[in-house]
């Protein structure tokens, strides 16, 4: 279980998060919605240690991980799929996946997880020797998620997996995220612009506005929430 408690974070003088609290129960998919610049990515960055919060705590299964170094947090098996995919463009698909297991040393477990990733994404298996920079946008997103799975995470933080993808590909990817979540009960913290599809797989949702949580409700209620409908669902 992941609990974000009252974090405040800033980039130099610019305060991006004022007071954000979020809970991801074990094995749940929780989504963070919000307009551009609301602080969604910043929230993920504080969870994964890329940004040290000024105040508040991030509790992972009873341990405060706020302010710990990113590599330490990765070793606690919190995986982060950063915004804009950020694959290693000059390396092959296989090498990208190998880097996903960078902080692990159990060769056998890594091999098993590699097989699992290829089961989820057969397309990656076909293209395992291809240079990752030459993959299509959708394949790159699959690679970014697959690479995160190579950590065998207990928490999977996804930052806008739908970015720049065709609706059909987005649906595929979300179906796989759902499968991954069901298969081994990995908690998913999902930041998304596409509120409709995010709420279709999430059990709980938060809406951020300029660094504050303004609505937090179960997904099915959120879908019906008039402000959410107007601002994020567009109907």
């Amino acid at each position: 279980m992941l609990e974000v408690r009252g974090i405040r974070a800033a980039y130099g003088p610019v305060v991006a998060l004022h007071d954000v609290s979020i809970t991801v129960p074990d094995g749940a998919i929780v989504t963070i919605l919000g307009a551009n610049g609301a602080g969604k990515s910043t929230t993920l960055r504080t969870v994964t240690g890329l940004l040290k919060p000024l105040a508040g705590s991030v509790i992972l299964d009873g341990v405060d991980i706020a302010g710990k170094s990113p590599d330490w947090i990765v070793r606690q098996r919190v995986a982060h799929v950063p915004e804009g995919r950020q694959i290693f463009a000059t390396l092959t698909v296989s090498e990208n996946l190998a880097l996903g297991a960078y902080s692990r040393s159990d060769e056998r477990g890594i091999a098993a997880d590699l097989k699992r990733v290829f089961d989820y994404f057969p397309r990656l298996f076909e293209r395992r020797r291809q240079i990752a920079g030459t993959l299509s946008g959708g394949e790159q997103q699959m690679l970014a998620i697959g690479r995160a799975l190579m950590l065998r995470p207990r928490m999977l933080c996804l930052d806008e997996p739908s970015l720049g993808l065709a609706p059909l590909v987005v649906r595929d990817i979300f179906r796989i995220i759902q499968t991954i979540n069901k298969d081994d009960g990995v908690g998913v913290l999902l930041v998304e612009q596409d509120a409709k599809i995010a709420l279709s797989i999430a059990s709980y949702g938060y809406v951020l506005e300029t660094g504050r949580v303004v609505v937090s409700e179960p997904a099915e209620k959120l879908v019906a929430n008039p402000t959410v409908r107007r601002s994020y669902l567009g109907y």
Partner: protein, 495 residues
């Protein structure tokens, strides 16, 4: 009838034809060397020369294709040439240049680890080489240390200093980091020239020591410094003190290359590339990017330190002039890019190119002007050409050639020998005659052009031109020998 403009479905001996670009490049390269040995101005033999030039270019092209198919061939060729270099060289001066190739191999390997693999620009690398060489010089000359401990201490100090140089990389990137590292290269000679240090480092006049000599068991083999009159006296000049030193440097360069090869293929090497490709993602994978950047600078400085040591072993003389910004920082960087960024092969080619290309060009052009200026012009021109046409560098081009396995080559050759191919041989004979006639009656340049045309023209186009002729001749032959018609071979493999 098959007609493929792309020639991608070549089979059998059609695969003997290299890609046009490869052919043109190789012919150009060869003409360079040809001119070096007297030129093709003699019009009487011009046509013949063209045939020879293109034939040798063709052999080179095939060799490159076969070697690239299995990179171990390249390893073998490179190793063989390096070991035999003193025997291929005409004089001690050239052996000395090869020794410097070893020095710059070490330096550029290190530079490639930090710039190519990790993506952190460093323009101050010459200073690192200088620091190492100067420490060795001062320790041996003024403190009377033996050379080997001095080398160990100097390399250690250089590595530590290089790691410190990596600290700006934690906050700076791109042009800002370039300027920060440039500052180090600019300050280094000034520090050496400081009045307070003159007593130790010799100030402007530098430090000179005796070059190392072969141990007593070997000194009969490596006779002492061969005089310049040894030029081309094959047996005498090969085993000189210079050759002895060259082999020491070569051993170091081989070990260094082997180390860099393993490093870049390890988990570490992949992490360096990860830091370069995406720092955010590298961090998200649990890679401590700060640590890796400092490590990259440290390893790179270690190589620069070794390069400094080799420099000292080779020249046994240091002065601030030896480590000027262009010769030891800018040019190696440029030739590293020309050789191929983030590749070991590119580093080796870069070191080789740095010491041979400008010299050779000037020699061919028989220009006696200041070497420095023209070296800059040539390097600049090469950089522009490579950055716009071949950003992957020479090694990138080699890796991209149309590969040809040794097995396929010998199978095709055997097939060609076993079955009568009158068209093929008629074509070759006609080509040779036409090229020679062009040379004799029109001019040497045109004969070369004709030769190029014959060899780069898409084979299938020629085949289809000759197809009726071929059908006629083969049926004639068949009738003459009473053989059954051979089955049409299918263009199955995409060569």
């Amino acid at each position: 009838m098959r007609f493929e403009a792309t020639g991608s479905y070549r089979h059998g001996y059609e695969r003997f034809v290299p890609a046009p670009v490869e052919m043109v490049l190789l012919a150009a390269l060869f003409i360079f060397c040809w001119k070096l040995y007297g030129g093709i101005n003699n019009s009487a033999v011009a046509g013949m020369s063209s045939v020879v030039i293109v034939a040798i270019a063709w052999v080179l092209g095939m060799a490159i294709r076969v070697a690239t198919n299995d990179l171990r061939w390249w390893l073998l060729i490179g190793f063989g040439l390096a070991v035999l270099a003193p025997f291929l060289a005409g004089n001690n001066y050239q052996v000395g240049i090869m020794a410097q190739v070893c020095v710059f191999t070490m330096m550029i390997l290190g530079l490639n680890i930090v710039v190519g693999y990790t993506g952190q620009i460093s323009i101050g690398h010459g200073a690192l080489v200088g620091i190492s060489a100067y420490f060795i010089a001062v320790l041996t000359h003024y403190s009377g240390w033996p050379m080997w401990p001095a080398i160990i201490v100097a390399v250690f100090i250089t590595t530590a200093f290089g790691a410190l140089l990596g600290i700006p990389a934690l906050r700076l990137a791109g042009p800002y980091l370039a300027i920060a590292t440039l500052a180090v290269a600019l300050i280094f000679p000034l520090v050496v020239k400081l009045d307070q240090f003159q007593k130790y480092d010799g100030g402007n006049s530098g430090i000179r020591e005796e070059r190392i000599t072969p141990p007593s068991g070997l000194d009969s083999l490596f006779k002492n410094n061969a005089p310049a009159t040894y030029k081309n006296e094959f047996a005498k000049s090969q085993f000189s003190q210079q050759t002895y030193i060259y082999y020491i440097l070569l051993a170091a360069a081989i070990i260094g290359t082997w180390g860099a090869w393993n490093l870049t293929r390890s988990r570490f090497g992949r992490a360096f590339v990860a830091v370069r490709d995406s720092e955010v993602a590298a961090t998200a994978m649990g890679i401590n990017t700060a640590l890796y950047k400092v490590m990259a600078f440290g390893i790179s400085a270690f190589y620069a330190g070794i390069a400094g040591a080799l420099f000292w072993v080779e020249i046994s003389f240091v002065s601030t002039e030896s480590f000027d910004l262009f010769n030891l920082s800018i040019y190696p960087l440029a030739y590293m890019v020309i050789g191929g960024l983030a590749t070991i092969g590119g580093s080796l080619l870069g070191a080789f190119g740095y010491l041979w290309v400008p010299q050779t060009v000037l020699k061919i052009a028989t220009i006696d002007q200041g070497f420095g200026d023209l070296q800059g012009a040539i390097t600049g021109l090469l950089l522009v050409v490579f950055m716009t046409r071949l950003p992957q560098g020479v090694w990138g081009w080699v890796l991209g050639v149309n590969r040809y396995s040794w097995r396929a080559l010998s199978a095709d050759t055997r097939a060609l020998a076993a079955r009568p191919q009158p068209t093929f041989w008629a074509f070759v004979a006609a080509a040779i005659v036409i090229v020679i006639l062009t040379g004799a009656f029109i001019g040497s340049v045109w004969s070369l052009f004709a030769a190029g045309l014959f060899i780069v023209a898409p084979t299938s186009a020629w085949t289809s031109v000759f197809a009726p002729f071929r059908r006629a001749t083969t049926s004639l032959l068949r009738r003459a020998r009473g053989r059954p018609r051979p089955p049409e071979s299918a263009p199955a493999d995409a060569g």
